[in-house]
């Protein structure tokens, strides 16, 4: 291509991109929805979802009424548990559990204190409503910790002062460090996860909508007779929507996630935006394919939502790859969101750079090339 030809090609591309942007700006409802996704939606996901157990209501059947049993009950307190009082028979306990009024019942047997003092092992029963397994698991885990603490203190008291010095006993002390999110703030994970999901949906939806709208209104015929190549028709749609999405990601990151959830960005933001750009490009390839097989916006929406599901499932956001069956783990390798997900958390939370992420980046780039070319090829066959 000579220089003049290239300038002409470039000018047309720019003109079309500006046209797409203008068209978007003149659709206030769509703009509103886009900004809703990047701000309110991300905020709600980050602040609303909290998977820690707080104030789980627990009641006690105390058959012993001794100093030891009171001491144990006293340990079931906030922030994890909320002690709601005593009940006297299992019938009441069952009906309260059935109705979901309380989460757990602690049952302390008779002669609890006496047996403890005699040096026997005593078991207390903890009945927990595990209809919701997250709650059931956490409540049991905290209760186990509480009883273990009680047990240890009691043993220490009985073994006498010489065992008070723990260093003289052969035990392993567990020194754990939670990396990347030391205070285990749910908002970090949730808000980023929501941002990635929103980005995926819009990156597929917006270019597809822009393309199918031309079809619906019949303006596609005008474009087909204009001196534009299919690439010149499609690329501006991807570029303009990509710019809007990158802007949205920036807004979401700098106005919502970083200031509100105090996310410390460990890695390079430049790399993150490069990866996001590449990802938008990949996802829009899928979107263009959707646009070629549907006739109306309603169909586009349905197909996008349908496609979103396997993409989300295979992204590894909620279920990490190691928890999946082997077949699914192979399938994950063709889900673009899987790479995007890995890289986003690695860059933002773990501070990873290109040396670690090059293989994911390569995978995403390859997928992007394949998907985008496929989308353009389908479009060309339809209108070229």
């Amino acid at each position: 291509m000579n220089q003049h030809g290239f300038i002409l090609w470039w000018d047309r591309l720019v003109a079309m991109t500006i046209k797409e942007l203008k068209q978007l700006i003149r659709d206030p409802v769509l703009l509103l929805i886009i900004s809703y996704f990047f701000t309110v939606d991300v905020y709600m996901a980050g602040s609303g979802i909290n998977l820690n157990l707080r104030n789980a209501s627990v009641m006690v059947i105390d058959h012993d009424h001794s100093a030891a049993s009171r001491e144990l009950i006293y340990r079931f307190r906030q922030p994890y548990f909320d002690f709601k009082g005593e009940i006297f028979d299992t019938k009441t306990a069952e009906s309260l559990l059935d109705q979901g009024r309380i989460l757990a019942v602690l049952d302390i047997p008779e002669n609890f204190q006496r047996h403890l003092l005699q040096g026997q092992t005593v078991a207390v029963q903890f009945q927990v409503d595990s209809a919701n397994t997250v709650l059931g698991t956490l409540a049991t885990s905290y209760a186990t910790e509480i009883t273990a603490g009680f047990s240890q203190d009691f043993a220490a008291k009985r073994l006498g002062p010489d065992s008070g010095q723990r260093a003289s006993l052969p035990v392993i002390q567990n020194r754990y460090r939670v990396l990347y999110n030391p205070n285990q703030i749910d908002g970090w994970f949730m808000s980023i996860s929501e941002l990635l999901t929103v980005t995926t949906m819009l990156a597929m939806m917006l270019p597809a909508a822009a393309a199918v709208r031309e079809k619906e209104r019949g303006t596609i015929e005008q474009l087909a007779v204009s001196p534009l190549s299919s690439l010149q028709i499609l690329l501006p749609k991807v570029i303009s929507m990509g710019l809007v999405i990158l802007l949205g990601v920036g807004v979401s990151l700098f106005l919502i996630i970083i200031p509100i959830f105090d996310l410390p960005v460990k890695g390079s933001l430049g790399l993150f935006f490069t990866v996001t750009g590449l990802y938008v490009f990949t996802a829009s390839g899928i979107g263009l394919f959707v646009a070629t097989i549907s006739r109306s916006l309603a169909q586009v929406t349905m197909l996008v939502i349908l496609l979103m599901m396997p993409i989300l499932l295979l992204s590894g956001a909620w279920t990490p790859p190691e928890a999946m069956p082997q077949v699914m783990r192979w399938a994950m390798k063709i889900s673009p969101l899987y790479y995007f997900n890995e890289m986003s958390y690695a860059i933002l939370l773990k501070g990873a750079g290109l040396t670690i992420l090059w293989d994911s980046l390569l995978g995403l780039a390859l997928l992007g090339a394949v998907f985008f070319n496929f989308g353009v090829w389908r479009f060309r066959r339809q209108f070229g």
Binding site: L30, L169, E322, A323
Partner: protein
């Protein structure tokens, strides 16, 4: 209300749905699709956590200790490393999510009756998983400690191992998991997802149906016809109610047969409650159809967020702030989730759940009145 007219609209709508092949297929595929993806995609079982080991002691005891992790189904051994620096890239690349570092002189100190410490590094990107993993690690170490202490006491104080064990760990917690004995997260999630999917898809389908009428301009035929507002809304709505009622059965089947969740309640009670719930959620679709097609997306958002966040499916209601707890009682999802879990896992019926059913009925009535007020035969232009 003239039932012949209602029937005419219903029949027309049904034919339209049947003729739009893509829509018809979607009406049944979409709910099941969302269901399968979320059912398999959201799993809170924390198992096979990949981990690596840095063993600075390399003794019989450290190997015995590490084998407790390797043999556990909760952990998945990925190999040894020789220096701490090797762990960072492995963790950063998510090749491992947990690392354990054993100090030098581990065995020597334990045999000498002294305390030692191991360090565990846990990937905290997903806090819930980190929390559960932490619990597993503490449990394994506590178990090791109890045995180590018991044999130490047995050696120094001349007691039997059982006595020594009772002395170091006098209290034991026996947990009984009610309603879900094996703690399978798929049981709770799959049944809970009935609530989510039936919240999201019915309004979506209704909204698409009404929007189609407006897009095609055929709504003007309705405006000029003798049909009354309530007749039109009812007639329009019945086919979608039928589709959603069938979807309840399909999803129910999937929950029981593909996810293996038991159903302990009363089938008729649950089906009736589900239909009332679907009337509510599809009614949401009638409310939202005034705007343009982009509103379809809005429908998804408006119904998805409360269903995810405020229903108690993922976020325990007790853990919410007081204001959020109040908010969560404003959405029908909370009541239906109680009915669902109550019916599937707890085996409850009308006697225990009547309040939730009445709440849903109230919702249905309010939404219907709002939908009626919202639809005008004389468009304001």
């Amino acid at each position: 209300m003239n039932l012949t007219r209602v029937w005419a609209v219903t029949y027309k709508e049904w034919r339209e749905i049947l003729r739009d092949r893509l829509f018809f297929a979607m009406a049944f595929l979409l709910p099941v699709g969302i269901f399968m993806v979320l059912g398999y995609g959201i799993s809170f079982d924390v198992e096979k956590i990949p981990f690596a080991v840095l063993d600075r002691d390399r003794s019989a005891m450290s190997r015995d200790f590490l084998h407790r992790f390797m043999d556990s189904r909760y952990f998945y051994y990925q190999g040894h490393v020789t220096s701490e620096r090797e762990l960072d890239p492995l963790l950063a690349n998510s090749d491992i999510r947990f690392a354990i570092i054993i100090p030098p002189r581990f065995q020597e100190q334990l045999l000498a009756g002294q305390a030692t410490s191991v360090q565990s590094l846990i990937d905290g990107v997903f806090p819930y998983r980190a929390e559960v993993a932490k619990g597993y690690v503490s449990a394994i170490i506590a178990n090791f400690n109890a045995q180590s202490l018991a044999s130490h006491l047995a050696g120094t104080q001349g007691k039997s191992r059982e006595q020594a064990l009772a002395q170091v760990a006098p209290l034991r917690l026996e947990s009984r998991y009610l309603y879900n004995q094996a703690l399978r997260s798929q049981w709770s999630i799959s049944s809970g997802l009935m609530m989510l999917v039936l919240m999201v898809t019915p309004p979506f389908l209704t909204a698409l149906g009404v929007v189609r009428e407006k897009e095609n301009g055929s709504i003007y035929n309705i405006y000029t016809s003798t049909i009354s507002r309530s007749e039109f809304i009812l007639g329009k709505f019945l086919p979608y109610l039928l589709i959603s009622s069938l979807n309840i059965l399909i999803l129910w089947w999937v929950v029981m047969n593909i996810f293996g969740t038991p159903f302990k309640g009363h089938p008729f009670f649950y089906y009736a409650a589900s239909v009332i719930y679907v009337i509510c959620t599809a009614g949401v679709g009638l409310l939202l159809v005034r705007t343009q097609v982009a509103a379809v997306m809005l429908t998804m958002v408006v119904s998805f967020v409360p269903a995810m966040l405020y229903s108690g499916l993922l976020v325990p209601i007790e853990s919410m702030a007081a204001a959020t707890q109040f908010e969560s009682h404003l959405f029908p999802t909370l009541y239906y989730l109680r009915i669902t879990w109550g019916s599937f896992l707890k085996g409850l019926g009308w006697k225990e759940l009547w309040f939730d059913v009445v709440a849903l009925m109230l919702y249905a009535v309010i939404l219907w009145i709002a939908g009626y007020m919202n639809f005008h035969k004389r468009p304001s232009t």
